[in-house]
């Protein structure tokens, strides 16, 4: 696997000619989007006021913005479709191959529903799961797959309207774990303890419905960041050795976003909540900007680097 700086180098050196071409497309596209946007807005305003002139009904002004947004979204997606495809084919695909040649990339697929449900990280009912940018492969004999995911749950408000609420949006990673275990262990960001303090936080955590038993870990730094629930007190500690806790803290620091993970059925599931769609081409900022480049390179490296960072490749002897 290539290091992050090697990968950045690859992005700027090898992909540079392609990036320059794409950059031209991007500038054209952004101009086109602005022009179409202005014309579309004027059109909608005209149509809405004409309809109002005929009907004299105030409801027009309630439905017009709604229609404006939906229509705008459809037009926007239509206009950026080719550019997005080209970006993924010409930039993300070679970037992933450069990272490790054992990785395979499918822009339109995502990590399966069963993985999301099996992970037990989220207790809300899963009603809708979208995603893209699916990567699958083997790093040092460890199976890994990850993708962008957007999971939603459906609920009805008092008026009977259906709403979708986001459970999770971000990067979802599934890999093999290097130790045998039977229990289910879930590790979540510690919100209760940091909001309410140790005593009340702990009290709230130990009465969390829908979760297994609370496991108090013997690392102050880890306890501050995470809360652990498991069906087996001993196995949770067998998985979360002092070394792994330290590595997870470091990984969390690198990812810089809320991190939840779980150990279920021999696998590790990691959910990093970026709260946005990842690996999408930048449209209003230059592709050559370092910050934009780092978003692609950094996120990819973080996801694939998990195997090395958590030492998942150092398998226990009986698992070899």
């Amino acid at each position: 696997m290539k290091s992050k700086s090697e990968l950045t180098d690859y992005y700027y050196r090898i992909l540079y000619p392609t990036l320059q071409l794409l950059e031209k497309d991007r500038v054209q596209l952004s101009h086109r989007l602005i022009t179409v946007g202005v014309i579309y807005t004027i059109l909608v305003v005209l149509i809405a006021s004409t309809i109002y002139g005929f009907l004299k009904n105030n409801n027009v002004f309630i439905f017009a913005p709604f229609g404006y947004l939906v229509g705008g979204g459809i037009i926007y997606n239509y206009l950026i479709k080719d550019y997005t495809k080209e970006f993924k084919d010409k930039i993300i695909t070679p970037l992933i191959k450069a990272l490790d040649k054992n990785l395979h990339y499918s822009p339109d697929y995502h990590v399966g529903n069963h993985h999301f449900t099996n992970s037990k990280i989220f207790t809300s009912q899963l009603d809708k799961l979208d995603g893209n940018d699916y990567v699958k492969g083997e790093i040092d004999d460890v199976n890994i797959e990850f993708s962008d995911l957007h999971a939603q749950t459906k609920h009805k408000d008092a008026k009977g309207n259906t709403h979708y609420q986001t459970i999770f949006q971000g990067l979802f990673i599934v890999t093999d774990f290097n130790k045998h275990f039977k229990a289910q262990t879930v590790i979540l960001p510690d919100t209760a303890q940091s909001t309410f303090g140790d005593y009340i936080g702990n009290l709230l955590q130990s009465h969390n419905m829908g979760r297994n038993e609370l496991v108090k870990m013997d690392s102050v730094a880890f306890e501050k960041e995470f809360v652990v629930y498991s069906s087996d007190q001993i196995e949770a500690r067998y998985i979360l050795s002092h070394a792994l806790m330290e590595k997870l803290l470091l990984f969390k620091k690198h990812s810089n976003h809320p991190l939840s993970l779980s150990f279920v059925g021999g696998k590790v599931y990691l959910a990093i909540a970026y709260n946005k769609d990842l690996f999408e081409p930048s449209i209003f900022h230059s592709l050559l900007k370092y910050k934009i480049a780092m978003e692609y390179v950094g996120t990819l490296h973080l996801a694939v680097g998990i195997v090395e960072e958590l030492k998942l490749n150092q398998k226990l002897w009986s698992k070899l």
Partner: protein, 186 residues
Amino acid sequence: MSTPFIILIVAVIVLVLMYNSLVAKKNQVQNIFASVDTQLKKRYDLLPNLVASVSQYMQHEKSILEDVTKLRAKANQANLSDKEKIDLDAKMSAALGSIMIAVENYPELKANENVMHLQRSLSEIEEQISASRRAYNQAVTDYNNALEQIPTNFMANFMRYTKKEVFEINENERQNINVKELFNTK
């Protein structure tokens, strides 16, 4: 319903809850100690084999090997208290740690399939034991806290609960981990 009666009911509920939580904490300690015990036994079972395999090579470490054998014999005695088991485990871990390190000095041993097998099994069990020790320590800490904190301390006093000891997680534990890592890498 009169006020004194309500106060009485609330008081009884509080007492019952306190009593139950203490009992639950005590049982948690016992349950986890049972798992620690099983794993310690698993480790003791491997020892005769290990000692037999390495003794012919290890001339300078005879005394450690004898210690291990003696400790094992002690551990197999019936009616050991939890505290005695904890002490024996600490001694055994230290002795095994020295053997593991000593193996490094004998190329014949490092090449011996049987010894390698034993060593790897031991280091895996060692990791499981370490996890159960940590779980046990947490359960004991919860239990001991309840024994000292108000208001459960009055109830605990009345129930004649006494504080329990935790496993020392000391320096040689960390050494064991280092040795383990040597063998876990491919």
